[in-house]
């Protein structure tokens, strides 16, 4: 089942033109059909973000975590500025024993995920990124990155990054976040 969802997400990401997709999604959302669209929510998020001004949201970092927030060049996958993380929200799995698209040992990728679009600084291409949380351990606590671009309130559930996005994982215990390239836009 997880595989199917993942596959579907990829296909959507690869084959749907963003504008048409958003229009359709809008209609579905208006009709109350929120639930089915989870895995692709960040397509919208990112699209909205790109349509808007590019001022980064200055979300405060809770006490004791300041030291854990890392900024750097877009090629360092343990920094918030790593190119694939343009719409990530959480602790970077790269700092927790995982990779930019891998869970740390002992944490499970959530089958539900959201999708965004990030431009690679090298080739200038826009890549479609699936953001998947790793679940099953207490918060990793390292490299907190909180992007708020395109983030929407809870009633636009798919776009709310404050939710524990571990639906379908063995437990709803959040550990860290990853960014998986699913294709070129």
């Amino acid at each position: 089942m997880d595989k199917i969802v993942e596959q579907m997400t990829r296909m959507v990401a690869q084959r749907t033109s963003r504008r048409g997709f958003l229009a359709r999604l809008g209609r579905l959302v208006a009709g109350g059909l929120i639930i089915p669209l989870l895995p692709v929510n960040r397509v919208l998020s990112q699209a909205v973000a790109q349509a808007a001004e590019s001022a980064p949201g200055a979300t405060p970092v809770p006490e004791g975590l300041e030291a854990m927030v890392k900024h750097g060049n877009p090629n360092d996958d343990t920094a918030c500025d790593y190119w694939k993380y343009c719409a990530i929200d959480g602790y970077l799995c790269s700092c927790c024993g995982g990779g930019s698209h891998d869970c740390p040992p002992g944490a499970s990728p959530s089958p539900t995920s959201w999708v965004g679009t990030c431009r690679h600084p090298g080739d200038g291409k826009d890549y479609i990124i699936s953001y998947r949380d790793c679940c099953g351990k207490t918060p990793c606590g390292r490299c907190l990155c909180t992007n708020t671009k395109g983030e929407m309130p809870l009633y636009r559930t798919q776009l709310d990054s404050d939710l524990i996005w571990c639906f379908g994982a063995p437990t709803m215990v959040y550990h860290c976040s990853t960014a998986e390239i699913v294709g070129v836009k």
Partner: protein, 379 residues
């Protein structure tokens, strides 16, 4: 344990008898567990989501007049705090795993006595409750104290109904496409829907849904979404939007009725990029006659940026009354009830609570060391 203590006592008795030295003078303290007086308007209930281990949620009860900790409550993973309308009970609606970080999930409403803070009992509910960085309106209680309403998100959305008198789970009400629990009457709650409309559910006396009616959208979420933590005064809800629009919605009827929105900003404010932001960004006093907005200067998508000022708005005249500059940037605000309301501002990064007198906005004091405080509750 008691058997061992008996052994301990015997040994001590032995020592006592054996030592044989008697002394008199004695002025003993009497050790007890303290009780709390009836909750006061200037008590702040601050919710801390411990960063490292959010599997326990903490509530600090702080007397802001004396800057004194009165007591603490514990709850489960990402728990919601609810107070009974008569202030005699507190509820922590939490999630538990049998081995804390894994195992079998149990969701429960934990019931605590407001005087002793002792655990009184629990009602186990379906393991479906909304798990989110703590937000207002994730759970609510009817004004008569009869029903607790708990938001579920699996990600399908529904509301669990708990009969607090009977101490049992009553049932689940489906709320497709709509989330949160805005309680506006003894048998009524509303939820916010994805298209900018409001769903209003009326309950019967057994806690089942009697009517369920959705309003027309009163704002366009794709253009200027309202924050998902409105403030409720009686049967009216006040919403603030990312761009500073204010919407008053009457929740008293079968269908929610919204008044046209108005902007908290004038052209100069807009030019200076003022907008609401933070976590708990709106508060009210005097039954909604005044509302308070946590404001900062920032561009698009800065809706979680700390606020530097609190703007006081007259909701009848739809104008700004005053601006209160904050000593420390804040993430959440609240205004206490009663004859002598104060403004409470919570700083997540600095882990502290500041208070200001109203209406003059004079800085009153600060209380430090509140963990990762996201929300303030109170009377």
């Amino acid at each position: 344990m008691h058997k061992r203590l008996a052994i301990a006592a015997s040994a001590i008795l032995f020592l006592f008898v054996a030592s044989g030295v008697a002394r008199a003078q004695l002025r003993p303290d009497q050790m007890t567990s303290l009780r709390l007086a009836a909750p006061q308007p200037h008590w702040a209930y601050v919710l801390d989501m411990p960063n490292a281990v959010p599997q326990v949620t903490k509530i600090y009860i702080v007397d802001t007049d004396r800057q004194k900790m009165l007591g603490q409550l514990n709850g489960g993973y990402l728990a919601s705090f609810v107070m009974s309308p008569d202030h005699r009970e507190y509820y922590m609606v939490g999630t538990f795993y049998s081995r804390v970080w894994h195992g079998t999930r149990t969701d429960a409403v934990e019931i605590l006595d407001a005087s002793t803070l002792n655990f009184k009992g629990e009602v186990v509910i379906p393991p479906k409750r909304l798990l989110i960085v703590p937000k207002n309106n994730s759970a609510g209680i009817t004004p008569d104290g009869r029903f607790m309403l708990v938001e579920n998100l699996t990600p399908a959305t529904s509301v669990s109904v708990i009969d607090l008198k009977a101490r049992r789970f009553v049932g689940e009400i489906e709320t497709p496409g709509c989330v949160q629990v805005l309680v506006s009457g003894p048998r009524r709650f509303s939820s916010m829907c994805a298209d900018g409309s409001i769903l209003t559910v009326h309950l019967d006396d057994s806690g089942k849904a009697k009517t369920r009616k959705q309003s027309k959208p009163f704002f366009d979420p794709s253009k200027d979404p309202v924050f998902d933590q409105p403030v409720i005064a009686g049967t009216d809800a006040y919403f603030d939007s990312y761009h500073g629009m204010i919407y008053k919605v009457d929740l008293s009827g079968d269908v929610a009725k919204a008044e046209p929105g108005w902007s908290a900003l004038d052209d100069a404010d807009r030019k200076a990029s003022w907008r609401p932001g933070g976590w708990q960004t709106i508060a009210e006093s005097a039954g909604g006659a005044k509302i308070y907005l946590l404001m900062h200067q920032g561009g698009e998508w800065t809706h979680k940026q700390d606020g530097k000022e609190v703007w006081v708005l007259d909701t009848a005249k739809k104008t700004r009354i005053s601006r209160i500059p904050l000593k420390t940037d804040a993430y959440s605000i609240r205004v206490s009830s009663g004859a002598n309301p104060i403004l409470e501002s919570l700083s997540l990064v600095q882990s502290q609570l500041e208070t200001y007198s109203l209406p003059d906005g004079k800085y009153l004091g600060v209380y430090h060391g509140l963990g990762a405080p996201f929300l303030i509750y109170g009377l």
